[in-house]
């Protein structure tokens, strides 16, 4: 689902210089709209930023399955349960596709998974917030997936072939996620008084993480310009956020569900959405590990790894005999 617009980077990293002739050829190819394939020459920084971007996207898919996965057993009704199982399975599949795409750039899947499990890698902030009620699942499926689609559709027009192909496949599946989320959202919004109250409460809690989803305002993103020149990033954080608000705020408001921000409005002159201070300090706190669920999400992920370890070992060493643990 979810490649947030924000790509965490390490400011101390030293970038070795690229061959200027090859760089010019590479940039000309991108300007012509050609895709870059794994066997092509590419600048050091292009490769490094793409690995980071695709890897964080993959981790976000894996971690994104956790808040919703916890609701599978409690999904109201058989059809919603089936849909939620299918969606969660898709998200894990998205991670697999993305890990494969990142591997073509030279980082092994085991290294990526290890960096996630050790807490070194980042993933989208939204999954470090709790899903307290069924309405949270509706909000995630509708609005978070919608935000992810805005991001993924933009990135699918980027310059790196394997990432674009993975995203095309992913976007095709996301349309179902969005629709089933919208369906659950509308069911609550048009339901009883307490269903509506539950939905409003969830929207109130998710509003800020959703504004954060696309990353900090453009003037705060350092690498944006070069990444956009190389078509690693296809739209600025603010542009994607604006596009999302444009499409989805009216869909929420028409159901008489509100957002907890009196300053949220579209400027009729500029066509840009304005919103109150979303507290970017909180955004940085959560991305650096101090969100409401960071520790739990990582612990659940490690537990999943521990529980599946015996089967991985069996696959790695088919001659060895492995005892299946009971728990």
């Amino acid at each position: 689902m979810y490649g947030g617009g924000y790509v965490f980077s390490d400011p101390e990293h030293q970038i070795p210089p690229d061959d200027p002739e090859k760089l010019a050829e590479f940039e000309a190819r991108i300007d012509r709209g050609e895709k870059i394939e794994p066997q092509d020459w590419m600048p050091y920084e292009y490769r490094r930023q793409l690995i980071r971007l695709i890897e964080q996207h993959a981790h976000s898919e894996i971690m994104g399955a956790l808040p919703e996965g916890a609701w599978i057993t409690r999904a109201p009704g058989f059809k919603r349960k089936l849909a939620l199982i299918a969606k969660v399975q898709d998200e894990v599949g998205h991670a697999q596709l993305l890990y494969s795409a990142a591997e073509t750039l030279g980082k092994s899947r085991a290294d990526m998974v290890n960096d996630l499990l050790s807490g070194k890698s980042k993933y989208s902030n939204v999954f470090n917030y709790p899903a307290k009620t069924w309405a949270d699942v509706a909000v995630i499926g509708f609005l978070i997936d919608a935000a992810a689609i805005v991001n993924q559709v933009a990135n699918s027009k980027g310059s790196y072939g394997p990432y674009c192909r993975a995203l095309e496949r992913i976007c095709y599946e996301e349309s179902f996620h969005l629709k089933q989320g919208y369906d659950a959202f509308v069911a609550l919004a048009t339901g009883t008084k307490s269903q509506r109250a539950m939905l409003q409460d969830a929207v109130n809690r998710w509003y800020r993480p959703i504004i954060h989803f696309f990353g900090p305002p453009d003037q705060e993103s350092k690498h944006s310009k070069q990444l956009m020149r190389w078509k690693v990033k296809m739209a600025s954080n603010d542009d994607m956020r604006n596009q999302f608000l444009d499409s989805y705020v009216p869909k929420v408001l028409e159901l008489d569900i509100t957002f907890p921000d009196p300053e949220l409005r579209k400027d009729p002159q500029t066509g840009r959405w304005q919103f109150g201070d979303p507290d970017w300090a909180e955004f940085y706190r959560v991305i650096n590990g101090d969100g409401p669920c960071n520790a739990e999400r990582l612990a659940v992920r490690r537990l999943a790894e521990a529980q599946g370890r015996w089967i991985r070992q069996a696959i790695m060493n088919p001659q060895q005999s492995v005892t299946i643990p009971f728990a």
Binding site: A110, L117, E296, Q313, M316
Partner: protein, 134 residues
């Protein structure tokens, strides 16, 4: 819930977490799967249609490559058969020779649509009609 092992207090919304007595797991790095290779996956929607390349999987052997390919690429669309081929077995012409495929830009002579006959037949018939009028 207080974790038996780590002593950490989890205020989880997740019933699975609540049920587990010991929840905290130490970090064990995954082993590098050195023997694994990449397989290209070809998907056939229905019997009789082409197998179409859809992506790749990483697996220790063809049998598991098929299992992974089924999970990854045959979850949604109809599928009647899958092929997996070790990527190393695919021979590539290479983009450095890309220009060898470019030939004359106008290739209508090798397209069915490059042969327009109806107007000739019509004008012939028209001419015949005038002939007989006379």
């Amino acid at each position: 819930m207080i974790d038996d092992k780590s002593g950490i207090q989890w205020n989880s919304e997740d019933p699975r977490v609540q049920r587990l007595g010991t929840f905290f797991a130490d970090f064990h790095p995954l082993q590098q799967p050195e023997e694994w290779v990449t397989y290209e996956v070809f998907h056939q929607r229905r019997r009789g249609e082409q197998h179409v390349h859809v992506g790749s999987v990483h697996a220790p052997d063809p049998e598991l490559a098929l299992v992974f390919a089924k999970e990854q690429f045959a979850r949604r669309q109809h599928c009647s058969s899958l092929w997996v081929v070790p990527s190393s077995q695919i021979h590539i012409s290479g983009y450095e020779n890309e220009d060898m495929f470019s030939t004359t830009p106008d290739k209508t002579y090798r397209e069915a649509s490059g042969y327009r006959l109806r107007h000739k037949i019509s004008s012939y018939k028209q001419a015949q009609l005038h002939e007989s009028d006379r």
